[in-house]
Amino acid sequence: MRSLSKRIVELAMKNGACDADAIAISDTSNQLRVRQGAIESVEREDSCGIGLRAFVEQQDGLAFASACTSDISDAGLEQLAGQVLEMARISSPDPDAVPPAGATHPEGVLQAEAESPVWNIEAAKRAALACEKAALDHSNAISNSEGAEAGFGNALIAYASADGFAGSYTKSSLGLSVSVIAGQADAMQRDYEYAEVRSAAELPDPAALGQRAAQRAERRLGASGMASGQHTVVFEPRVALSLLGHLCGAINGRAVLQQLSFLGDASGKRIFPEFVCISDNPAHADGLGNRPFDGEGTRTSRSGLIEDGVLTGFMADRYAARRLGIEPTGHARRGLAGDLSIGPSNIYFHPGELDQQSMIAEIGDGLLVTELIGFGVNGVTGDYSRGAAGFLIESGQITRPITEITIAGNLRDMFSGITHVGNDLTWFGSRAAPSVAIGSLTIAGQG
């Protein structure tokens, strides 16, 4: 793969590019689904693709374009190089365009060996069957199953730049998930549980995972609405992850440059309470988003995005960094298709002191949110309104399941209004969050 990415860069240079870089990804993945104790599907994918970005000199400056293909034959590569150059020539020159040459690359040779598969289909089948069985057997309330799914895969990511840097690394992952239904007819409730880890040894016990999914579905039975009003809201860890997503969207250097962020003026300012810290670490033992270099070959390093509640700066690729007048932060993300984007590697809250139960006891009255649906978040204004389900908190106790409500506010107020960060930090792939309590949100509902 490394030689493939080098070859396409050479082809681009031969076709008249003044600079170029490329990424090649090969991926093998397996998925197995079981439902009601029988195999429902087995899927296997082998894929390989290459993405090329090429720069050309125009009269008024540098312009570039990018393209990708899954046809890696000689003819396919020739066509890719020709296509990118032709497109680059019609792109607008950008005075701030940053060619790949001169990035701060990692030191030493980064050449990954192709890894052997992390799991096998028989073990995946056993895990999925055990997981679903434990969920279905959990109690009489569990009435149906959407099935359990086990999957595993390996990817090799290779990058090459016309300045001579070439590196590659591998990613492996395996996942197990299950979704079951409690109750009948109009009273049905569904919930799920999942785990995504790097090796089979890290996988939680499939039966325990299944039981947790069943407990989650069962405790939602009998859910009803609640009256509108202002309430303290606790996000459980899987829901609190979404706050990290909204933060990343708003501290994306490109979004800031284009006036698409409600945090455009917030660099160096306190936007969370002092006890909130959020970091991004591209070499984290628990994260699945590790990367030694980013999408333009820039060396990556740990960054404290939020330190003692203060936004330390924006995430930037080399282009955004030049325009913002900061150093590149190694946050260029790159898939095969399209231009670069900006995003974190492994992002996580630093855990607090209290467990969720103690948080709920301290809060007294409010709502524990266990599910959010919909896309009602405006990244430009921070206005926030999403569908929710969860549990009512009364006098420090969880009392009844709640459904068909919305929660609304503004992300700036939500960030600064965090009252508690729990000690129950939970990893979900490349992101981790604990339970997080927010002082006041508007709940709309009926009850």
Partner: protein, 474 residues
């Protein structure tokens, strides 16, 4: 820019026949090969410059075997015979006990429908012309109002050519053009920043997007919405009457009932609609259809991704639940006929029952009378995305342009708010149906199990007596 006439299959018919034999064990209920070759190009303007020009070429084969409720799938982007045979073996593992099937011969046909052009939609308009189109949009948007600070515009086109070789050797192919133009603006006034966007497209050539003032119309619409939002006040919170405008607000139907009527969820009994066939799920007068056969529409297809011709399926007729959306496997298991709704995002994903163009038929009410009937409520005319929990039936969709209604009159615009309801009963609360059915402008994308496919929606103006509005003003 890449000339590409009707695709000749990049794999020899003989290789396909051998692969199909290898794939299909005796006793399989179904099997097919799905060969895809697609190209896409996108040109995007931001900050006055055409900064993002990108293209992608995707090719590959999906091999599939179905036996009872189980399916084996294998995907590869390598088209040489050995890779295909390996994929066939992997897919077949699901039903390994059967012996080989008898030899097949491959015979070619075209789908019954000819709903759109089979030429590459990018060809009529050069990259340079596309660049000029976007630059014109940028200039126009900035000239309409000085408060416009940022303009984003992008034009994208794809041409997807699919060949399906079915268990009996039947080979059927479809060439699918798809284009889209989007315009978004950021406006700023007195320290307040808001956005507005508009888009359109369908299954036709880019030349149609350039003529007829479409780009200008979308640009003016994006600026108009952004300026409206600059005046928006906090949205109300709680249950109230909601009037939905015509067209894109039909996303209500997609979320509230469409997903819940997909065959897989009903066969498995996981949908809130699973036991409701033949029962009343909507007010009298409400008729909802899914129609994949409307010419040139974004959600239309000559055939689905299993080679079944698309059709018009009546989901709800005069308030009564009448139909499910079916692919071949779920239809067979439920003893029903496939409806041409088996779709996949690409060769590298399994088939799922999916919507095409989903809309409510027009009623007899004058839209003005509908608004006039509401004392206090919300009038929502544009939406962002939506989502549904098909098991509990709870669904949401989020406004991007909405107004308060006071004493029958449309008043102040309100900030974006999520509306939440319950799919199986929301349509029972429809009390007025307008005579102004409109389909959306060609912007819908539906996600399910991680797969995105283009869809359409449509709605006349309707009044829903009560829906929960998720604003901040409780």
């Amino acid at each position: 820019m890449n000339d590409c006439g009707p695709m000749s299959l990049p794999v020899a018919a003989e290789t396909l026949a051998r692969t199909l034999e290898k794939l299909t064990p005796a006793g399989a209920d179904d099997a097919d090969l799905y060969v895809q070759y697609s190209q896409s190009e996108s040109v995007a303007l931001e900050e006055g410059m055409v900064k993002q020009v990108s293209a992608s070429t995707q090719q590959g084969v999906g091999a599939r075997v179905i036996k009872g409720e189980a399916g084996g799938y294998a995907y590869t982007d390598r088209l040489e015979p050995k890779a295909l045979l390996d994929a066939a073996s992997a897919a077949r593992a699901i039903a390994s006990e059967g012996g080989d099937t008898s030899p097949v011969s491959v015979h070619e046909s075209r789908p019954a429908h000819r709903l759109y052009s089979s030429t590459n939609p990018m060809l009529p308009v050069s990259m340079t012309q596309r660049r000029k189109l976007l630059e014109d949009i940028d200039r126009l948007a900035r000239s309409i109002d000085l408060r416009v600070k940022q303009v984003f515009a992008d034009v994208s086109a794809s041409f997807k050519q699919v060949h399906i070789i079915r268990i009996d050797g039947g080979h059927i192919s479809d060439d699918r053009p798809l284009i889209r133009l989007n315009v978004s603006v950021v406006v700023e006034h007195k320290g307040r920043t808001e956005t507005g966007s508009a888009g359109g497209g369908g299954r036709f050539g880019l030349d149609r997007m350039l003529g007829g003032g479409e780009a200008e119309r979308l640009t003016r619409e994006a600026v108009r919405i952004a300026l409206v939002n600059l005046e928006a006040v906090d949205a109300p919170a709680g249950p109230m009457p909601v009037v939905l405008g015509p067209g894109w607000p039909g996303i209500l139907l997609h979320e509230a009932i469409g997903h819940g009527l997909e065959g897989d969820f009903n066969r498995k009994g996981t949908s809130a609609f699973a036991d409701k066939m033949g029962k009343q799920v909507a007010a009298k007068g409400v008729t909802v259809v899914d129609d994949g056969t409307i010419p040139d529409r974004r959600g239309s297809l000559n055939m689905d991704d299993e080679g079944t011709p698309t059709s018009r399926t009546v989901l709800i007729e005069d308030g009564i639940l009448t139909g499910y959306l079916q692919d071949r496997q779920n239809a067979r298991l439920m003893g029903m006929a496939p409806t041409g709704n088996g779709r996949r995002e690409s060769y590298a994903q399994p088939i799922l029952p999916r919507m095409t163009n989903t809309f409510m038929l027009a009623g007899h009410d004058n839209p003005k009378d509908i608004l006039a009937s509401v004392r206090r409520g919300l009038y929502a005319v544009n939406f962002g995305g939506g989502q549904v929990d098909i098991t509990s039936g709870k669904f949401v969709f989020s406004t991007s342009e909405a107004y308060l209604i006071e004493d029958g009159e449309v008043k102040a615009p309100v900030k974006g708010a999520t509306l939440i309801g319950n799919g199986p009963d929301v349509l029972t609360k429809v009390s007025m149906i307008g005579n102004d059915l409109a389909l959306d402008p060609g912007v819908g994308t539906c996600g399910k199990d991680g797969q995105s496919v283009p869809v359409g929606v449509g709605l006349p103006t309707i009044l829903i007596d009560e829906l929960i509005v998720g604003g901040t003003q409780a």
